[in-house]
């Protein structure tokens, strides 16, 4: 059956859909959706439902849902609360659908789940009951739970990451959690790396290799061979250890993509104004700079943690969005790039979906 490729874009002012056929040469933009609410993540679940999560300065956090391809939307935050004596939740940072459950990562950092398609939510309280919680500190982007990594076959097992708290794993459906930060530096605190407090920017897993985790961190790019128990720094060979997003090739768990940025005190932008994506085909042992078609002069743009994605076609397309409203895409695994959209609001998230046309 013919496929349609979608790039789902969450922005400071609403959600948008870029769509194309499998050739991915010509793109059409739809939106804005969700009444232009600030949208931190925008996904299409396996059953075809669109979900967008964010938070509005007036009306608080909510998860939007469309079952008719964006024609109509509802929103709900029923149960998205820590209670009347606890801090208010300001926004949704991450959505993940897996095994019939929809997860939401929120700010201040915590995890919620919905088993009725986003109508109601329940707090996965075990994470905030972790003894480290009183010492959790926010990063520059806030105390946000931004990564939710589900296991492909074990519904009780998942990993989450928050800034600047680190990575946690549960193997009992969220009742108990353990830190998974060994080997990850935290150069912004003195002494040896702590048990928690690392500033993870994006955590990823490949479903074919569920013990292989990758992360782009404030202080390096890392991989783990054992579900996060030990991490190895992959930064040598990259022009900067700093960046926000990371994606994994859908058909090759050894192939990963990052977008190195100038350091945290140097603007957090494309290095020297030269836009580039970096790819490793050997799990981070060596890296290649991919830049054909990307602006190479005066491109002082930033790509935020959720704003890169890769589609699942045989030759995957790679996409990223900038905080200044451009979407770039490659239909050939990052070798050649084109500008797919410009003049959008500040882009906070990019997700890719392949659906029946």
């Amino acid at each position: 059956m013919t496929k349609r490729v979608e790039v789902l874009v969450g922005t400071k002012k609403g959600a948008f859909i870029l769509e194309s056929d499998e050739a991915r040469r010509d793109w059409r933009l739809r939106g804005p959706f969700c009444q232009s609410w600030p949208t931190h993540d925008f996904i299409r679940a396996a059953d075809g439902t669109l979900y967008a999560g964010g938070g509005n300065n007036w009306y608080g956090p909510s998860v939007w849902r469309s079952s008719d391809n964006g024609e109509s939307w509802t929103q709900s935050s029923a149960g998205l609360t820590y209670g009347d004596d606890e801090p208010k939740i300001t926004t949704i940072w991450k959505l993940a659908a897996s095994n019939g459950t929809l997860y939401a990562g929120v700010e201040p950092a915590g995890l919620f789940r919905s088993d009725d398609g986003g109508d109601t939510w329940s707090h996965v309280a075990g994470l905030r009951e972790h003894p480290s919680r009183p010492d959790w500190q926010p990063g520059n982007g806030g105390l946000c739970l931004h990564s939710i990594v589900t296991h492909p076959t074990d519904a009780d097992r998942l990993w989450v990451a928050a800034s600047a708290v680190g990575t946690f794993e549960t193997t009992d459906g969220g009742v108990t959690w353990e830190t998974r930060n060994k080997g990850v530096r935290a150069d912004f605190v003195p002494g040896p790396p702590p048990d928690f407090g690392q500033c993870v920017h994006k955590l990823r897993l490949h479903p074919d290799k569920p013990e292989w985790l990758y992360q782009q961190n404030h202080c390096g790019v890392y991989r783990s061979d054992d579900g996060g128990r030990q991490w190895t720094d992959l930064s040598p060979g990259l022009p900067s250890e700093f960046g926000f997003p990371m994606v994994i090739h859908p058909h090759d768990p050894k192939s990963i993509y990052v977008i190195p940025h100038s350091g945290p005190a140097d603007g957090r932008q494309m290095i020297d104004g030269h836009a580039a994506v970096w790819r490793s085909n050997d799990r981070g042992d060596t890296w290649q700079r991919l830049h054909a078609g990307l602006p190479q002069d005066n491109a002082y743009v930033t790509v935020l943690r959720e704003a890169m994605a890769i589609d699942s076609l045989d030759q995957p397309g790679v996409y990223f969005g900038t905080s200044t409203g451009q979407v770039f895409g490659s239909a050939d695994e990052g070798e050649n790039w084109t500008l797919l959209a410009d003049y959008l609001p500040s882009i906070w998230s990019v997700e890719a979906a392949v659906v029946d046309a």
């Binding site: 009444q35 007036w58 929103q75 609360t81």
Partner: protein, 89 residues
């Protein structure tokens, strides 16, 4: 019956949206929020944050006076305006 005026940005969040202007038998601001929520489920979450208290950037005026306390009483003659705070960006 208190007279209530709601902002467009609020009513359009609901599939079967409430009218912008309506009358409710509520006897306090808190009761008004609950009455709205019972008719349009989810309305309370949009207006009230943990505490419970009115959301920081939701202004409510009762007979022209800005009120923040959900216990403020309402009468049949009360006129309530719900107005999002001025914000930019």
């Amino acid at each position: 019956m208190a007279t209530v005026h709601l902002p467009r940005s609020l009513v359009t969040l609901f599939t079967d949206p409430p009218p912008r202007h309506l009358q409710l038998p509520s006897t306090s601001l808190g009761a008004l929020v609950n009455d709205l929520d019972s008719r349009w489920p989810g309305m309370r979450d949009r207006l009230v944050e943990p505490g419970p208290r009115l959301r920081e950037h939701i202004n409510v005026f009762v007979d022209g006076e800005r009120e923040r306390d959900l216990a403020v009483p309402l009468s049949d003659a009360s006129v309530v305006h719900v107005i999002p705070a001025v914000a930019g960006g």
